[in-house]
Symmetry: C2
Subunit: 332 residues, 2 copies
């Protein structure tokens, strides 16, 4: 059995959607057990079936808008997030899924789960939707500003193995986010990363990729430093959101527009679903000793279920061990 810890109190709709997502996962995935960390009374309101689900009581919470995430974690060791993270370090559980505050989760993962020794920096790697439907890994969206080309290479190795094992791609292609496609474009960091990636035989490097093809990229992994990739992700989000509301406004105009809208409702829903990140799962935090999945703060039950499924897959495929082995070999 794979044991998954759930931070049941983190996220916009906690604990309702977390609990419902857990029950859904138990129904759909045969080889998992779930431990919900949180307020038992609040959890039991929604837990209508506790097959293979256990509750462990937590105290205190980590707010979503925490100014100082490190102190937040240090001063809340009994919070649902902290307890769930610690349970992965201790081996009580194999993975954790949380939709709590991102920066607190990263800080907490560092302190309570620990960094794998072969990776110098952690990174957050969400999977973004694309026109063709193929999932694309974007990293590092964690806002990590202290980056060196070697760290980016380690992240590219992780993403390559993740893409092979979890996305089932044979020879995943890696692209560097840049302002032009030509070799030698960009800042010093981009140029050095380019050279490192090009030399490396374990990475299928396709060169520089401009984000004007962000939803239809010629690769499976898009990588940049923590500032740039975060800007790409936020611009993507902002554009999608803005376009969504413009579209809605325009379609509502006039009689024929309204009628057309009515007839298109099903198609528009499917369109919206294609863009919804929670259909794909959460963002994995790369570079830790354990499996930590960050689900969107606004995740509903389905999003949470997808995060749990993803966590179980990562455990089942032993991704972290495989990454350590490849990085170990790199050092030699």
């Amino acid at each position: 059995m794979i044991k998954i810890a759930i931070d049941a109190m983190g996220g916009d709709y906690a604990p309702k959607e977390q609990v419902e997502g857990a029950m859904l996962a138990i129904k759909k995935i045969a080889d998992i057990e779930i431990v919900l960390y949180g307020d038992p009374r609040a959890i039991k309101k929604y837990l209508t079936d506790d097959t293979r689900i256990q509750i462990i009581e937590s105290k205190g919470t980590i707010d979503m808008g925490e100014k100082d995430p490190i102190s937040a974690i240090r001063n809340n060791r009994k919070s649902s997030m902290a307890l769930a993270l610690s349970s992965v370090r201790s081996g009580d559980n194999d993975a954790i899924v949380s939709s709590g505050a991102t920066q607190a989760l990263i800080a907490g993962a560092h302190i309570l789960v620990g960094r794998m020794k072969q990776m110098k920096r952690t990174a957050i790697a969400p999977v973004i939707p694309t026109v063709s439907g193929k999932p694309v890994i974007l990293l590092d969206t964690g806002g990590n500003l202290e980056i060196r080309p070697e760290f980016m290479l380690q992240q590219a190795h992780f993403a390559t193995i993740y893409a092979k094992e979890i996305l089932e791609l044979e020879n995943p292609k890696v692209g560097l986010i840049n302002i032009g496609t030509e070799d030698g474009k960009g800042r010093q960091l981009d140029k050095e990363a380019f050279d490192l990636f090009k030399e490396n035989k374990d990475i299928n490097f396709v060169g520089n990729v401009e984000p004007k093809v962000v939803l239809d990229p010629p690769c499976d992994v898009l990588i940049s430093d923590g500032f740039t990739a975060n800007i790409v992700m936020k611009t993507l989000e902002g554009t999608a959101k803005g376009i969504g509301s413009m579209l809605k406004e325009e379609l509502k105009r006039g009689f024929f527009g309204k009628l057309g809208l009515l007839l298109s409702v099903k198609n528009l829903k499917r369109f919206k679903k294609r863009l919804a990140p929670e259909e794909i799962g959460g963002a994995m935090i790369y570079g830790l000793k354990g499996v930590v999945i960050k689900a969107q703060g606004s995740s509903k039950a389905v999003g949470f279920y997808n995060g749990i499924r993803q966590a179980a897959n990562v455990v089942r495929q032993d991704v972290i061990k495989k990454v350590s082995e490849v990085l170990e070999k790199e050092v030699e």
Copy 2:
């Protein structure tokens, strides 16, 4: 009369759309004259009315995908782009509009028009569409990597004056693109720029802005270094394009979808128009001694007309002189 030079041979649909855009501008704007630089025979094929329009013959062209834009300009002094740029320096014309290769236009503007002495770096500042319909200036999208906070401040001054004089905003708000809204976020450059902007009384600084509100920002000017702003613009473009094709695909599915699509055509066209950059005009190159407007490479006649209208406005409002005066005062 305001005299506008047109690079009639640059762009995807040259010279047809350039010539038609020029004729449209002459019809709509009373106080302008136009000089078309290009191949007279090719131009005359489309020039059905030469009222207030003159042709000056050019030789050689600057390709769109030029690898070495500086040499391209230096070796093609008789090209339509080079001649049109030089005519602004000599005072024969008051402004130039070109939809030729961006990097060649920037390089050419440096060499042939010259940088204004108060600004250390040029910048490209397109106006992006927003949900509310208000135009927002994004800069620097020119890919300028050698940037210092002082240069960003100079660009913010330029944008502020442009927004006042051309967009007719009373007290334009300036925001710094960043990965979080809190003070002190981001890289060293972002922090230093934040402090400089905050201290400055001629700028209405609203602080850090995350691009997840890129189409609905709490400001009129969004500013970052040439790498980051270029990444924002390209991600915006890529997302809009990707979403457009997903939407089309989804709406075509099934009988009701197709019927709905049919009824929504007018509304969808208006939606597309709202997102089209050429409805707004071109991107002005800040920091030059003359008025240089870069229209999109794919501009049709209307896009070109809008670029000409914008160029005429910038000349009429004497924007460059006003910027010099403010920057002169800054130095004191």
